[in-house]
Assembly symmetry: C2
Homo-oligomer: 188 residues x 2
């Protein structure tokens, strides 16, 4: 836990906690306890305080998911839907139905300070661009791909909330089923 990775550990822990408990639940006390990182050096690593930590956490998970989307090499638009929803679904399961999207939680928990809101906005935009490209690559209708991406992201975010509320991920079945139909209609 010494040397240089304390900062990274904190950011990583903040991502998990952000998904599970939101911005307010991600207090420094909880972060340091969950990650076994030293409480004394917080303002050394994050001079901007809590906001800086959360921002970095949002950037981190945002970039990670973006990379995941960019790596999708699907043969059909329906496969893009399958992979995208499948990832979120398994994330929900992995959290034992106790986690939401960290970015969504940040957008919701953003207070007066606009920095957090803007950070999550940028992530959403990045995801939208990447997913749009993925749809185009898979042979979807080019002019509709942006719409498809928006629908998928919005639906996934909503499904996470509903799935968590019901401790059940069957919502994803309906979404996957219908959105596959939608994106297949015009493509190919």
């Amino acid at each position: 836990m010494n040397r240089r990775n304390v900062r990274e550990e904190m950011i990583k822990g903040a991502v998990s906690l952000l998904a599970e408990r939101g911005v307010h639940g991600t207090s420094f006390a909880v972060v340091t306890e969950a990650t076994n990182t030293p409480r004394g050096s917080i303002y050394h690593h994050f001079p901007g305080g809590k906001n800086e930590l959360i921002e970095k956490a949002v950037d981190s998970i945002g970039g990670l998911v973006t990379a995941l989307i960019d790596a999708v090499d699907a043969a059909t638009p329906a496969d893009v839907v399958e992979v995208f929803f499948g990832s979120w679904r398994s994330a929900l399961r992995a959290s034992n139905f106790d986690g939401n999207c960290a970015v969504a939680n940040t957008a919701i928990g953003a207070g007066e300070d606009d920095s957090l809101r803007v950070a999550s906005q940028h992530v959403f935009e990045k995801w939208h661009r990447s997913l749009t490209s993925a749809f185009i690559r898979s042979g979807a209708d080019t002019s509709a791909s942006s719409d498809y991406a928006a629908v998928c992201i919005a639906a996934a975010e909503g499904a996470l909330i509903m799935g968590r509320a019901s401790r059940n991920d069957s919502v994803f079945d309906a979404l996957s089923r219908q959105l596959k139909l939608l994106v297949s209609a015009s493509g190919r």
Copy 2:
């Protein structure tokens, strides 16, 4: 502000604050200040403390929206989509892009105590049933209506988050456009 409506005032105020600031931001101090209700009688009206207030607020807004859905008398499935998203969209605008769905915020902000999670779960289920019926009434494919309802609710919840993050409601355009196509495909 005397007599019997203090309780109702508090619940009403809690709904607004819940949508804007989430569970944690809906503190008693803020509620009483925003509604000009007496701070001293909180535990008289809500012996269950904060949880009871939030629960009642979720029930309240849940029933209100349910009634709204039940009142929809649409000629086509596409019209159901139009009305449903239109309502959420104008709610977002009305809040100056600073409000989410109060029920979603409660689901997210629910802590260890399961009561809040369950309350929001029930509301989501109620909405799902009502919207499914609305689709069936409008002539949509009966076996697909449940899926349609799930997709619409999830997408709307996600769109609220994204719209708030970007202070922009153009996401709703894409959603409305595509989901109208989807629900029209099999219906009629």
